[in-house]
Symmetry: C2
Subunit: 408 residues, 2 copies
Amino acid sequence: MPHKILVAQGGGPTAVINQSLAGVALEARRFPGVTHVYGAREGVRGIVNDDLIDLGQETVANLEAVAATPAAALGSTRDKPDRKYCQEIFKVLKAHAIDAFFYIGGNDSSDTVRIVAEEAKTADHGLRAIHIPKTIDNDLVGFDHTPGYPSAARFVAQAFAGANLDNLALKGVYVAVVMGRHAGFLTAASALARKYPGDGPHLIYVPERTFAVDRFLADVKATFERHGRCIVAVSEGIHDDKGEAIITKLLGKTEKDAHGNVQLSGAGALADSLCEQVKAKLGISRVRGDTLGYLQRSFVGCVSKVDQREAREVGEKAVQYAMLGAGDGSVAIRRVGDYAVDYPLVPLETVAGKTRVMEDHLISAEGADVTPAFADYLRPLLGADVLEVARLRAAKVEKAGVLSGDVT
Amino acid sequence: MPHKILVAQGGGPTAVINQSLAGVALEARRFPGVTHVYGAREGVRGIVNDDLIDLGQETVANLEAVAATPAAALGSTRDKPDRKYCQEIFKVLKAHAIDAFFYIGGNDSSDTVRIVAEEAKTADHGLRAIHIPKTIDNDLVGFDHTPGYPSAARFVAQAFAGANLDNLALKGVYVAVVMGRHAGFLTAASALARKYPGDGPHLIYVPERTFAVDRFLADVKATFERHGRCIVAVSEGIHDDKGEAIITKLLGKTEKDAHGNVQLSGAGALADSLCEQVKAKLGISRVRGDTLGYLQRSFVGCVSKVDQREAREVGEKAVQYAMLGAGDGSVAIRRVGDYAVDYPLVPLETVAGKTRVMEDHLISAEGADVTPAFADYLRPLLGADVLEVARLRAAKVEKAGVLSGDVT
């Protein structure tokens, strides 16, 4: 049974990643054989730099307060370790006699765990290596959903519920861009903002379908003619039939990150460009664009209680699997009821480096909306305390018959 | 005592404007002499179009549900009535024998109420005309603050609290643009996001001070060198020493609205331009920009309970003033304790068409931050249930001494 534990956090922060951290730290304390619970600063980078902190010196009250705080309390990294990097990780783990390693992150992180576990086996160093899932993109293969997604989805749904009402009060076209490079789950969550007939978003574009600017304009025109307004949800990752990002097409240039990916988040250019298209081509005057940006993963005060609970539980389960000798793996979430889940330990190979996208039955046939099956899938994840909005019922008053009509 | 009441909502929606509407409708029902409570669809436009609904046919449950819903349930308008328009308003009021008129809005709306009241006096038609305050800009002269501002301020503070943590986990420069053309109160609210030493926002730029791009870059550079990161809050209305909007300077073009104002909201260009300046001139690679956009006034699920209560009360007080014959006026909010308020009826002339900006003692001497006096001013408005965030306390683990240093 492991004695020295190390936990780290990788990739983009979420509203509940610290729940998993607290789950690991607090659960590990329950095992009398555990002598040390360390955390690495700034993900795997903190390991290779041997920059560790002692979570055994944290109070329960502070761990609980951190658990309820968004972002990544240990710090994170965008480093994507190759084998050489993983060997460096293993070297530090071995030097500290760490025999259980937990990495909270997405599919890149699970790949890191996989390689580190291999290195340990090669060196005959007893190490339990467990991947704890986290990503607002909801793109881990074999998972019903991933911790972090429900809270971000809730933010998106509440943002669109409000934007829909705002746009109903002052009518026009409203385009909001949502995070998601390959998977449209987060953008799709905007559908849960609808309550009354005619509510937006009226159009939802996910990266699982080809985006054509002409088709988009035709969709907006038809919606605007029908409702006198139009709310659009767009994934940042929309692309044309050749796979070229729409933002690149519209702007003619883009920034690329260290991995050669087009920089999508942290700029409002896609929303602005789409709005300009609507103004120029459709002649609609009130056109507004928002980019939900970092708020959708870090806003303080928007969390799904279901997500909170599950993020805590995957951390706890990871420690239990490590302690009870279940082997290396990733703690998956499987839906086993309506609504209930289990947390099986699945092989790292089934998760590592793979990307799930929205299944076909979740996207409407014409490609600019989601299906009722998607709403059924997402609704229980948002928690029972979803906020309701209401409209007036509007019994009209008979006109007094004095209109001159010369003002409007 | 009035028998027929009309209420309307004008200008930009807020999180609590429907509290004031419910306050009017529910309070009016308490007076046996009141036979009709009407609402105008889409502000004053609904009046001149004689497009009214009967709020007497709304249930209490639905009015309460609407009260808890953001945006403007009656619909709103950006129309800024001149005297001729106000005469049309008065014509419809008279035709319906309306003897009490309530308009929920900002300083333009109070001016409309003022002119309509004058028309009524000229025509010798008994009309009580009351302005009920509302604006996230907090820019009404003679008010301690305006309903709508505390909830929007809470959103801004929570957004920056989250962005600060996110940026702490993945370091870089983060610039977020906040609404506010002339008044920086909403941008200033970002200061309430700070808790720990070194927390952002590190720089806050309000439109009450001249913005110089060179000075901004020097400020960012100094902060980045000190903290390894930098969070910036910027008002959309920042301008240079000649009064030209920074967005116009950086972009070389802008859209203007019907009133000839530069279109500031509903686009991400200012944040993007400032980020590009930081990347190009300071050579910092991880630079991200967000524009809080419409979420700050319409997000479902971010409201100050103090704001909710006060917005309800100004609606109720407006009806009481009209019923008890206090004359025309605007229902102001005065701070009379720490924290307690009164709602005096003030003359429309003291509010109408005037704009309050941040007082000098609320802005730091060097102009890139607020003072502790601002935090003292804002804190009670956010409500007692402000969300706390927490950090780990980070007891360092002694290094194992195996670093090769060849990965990083």
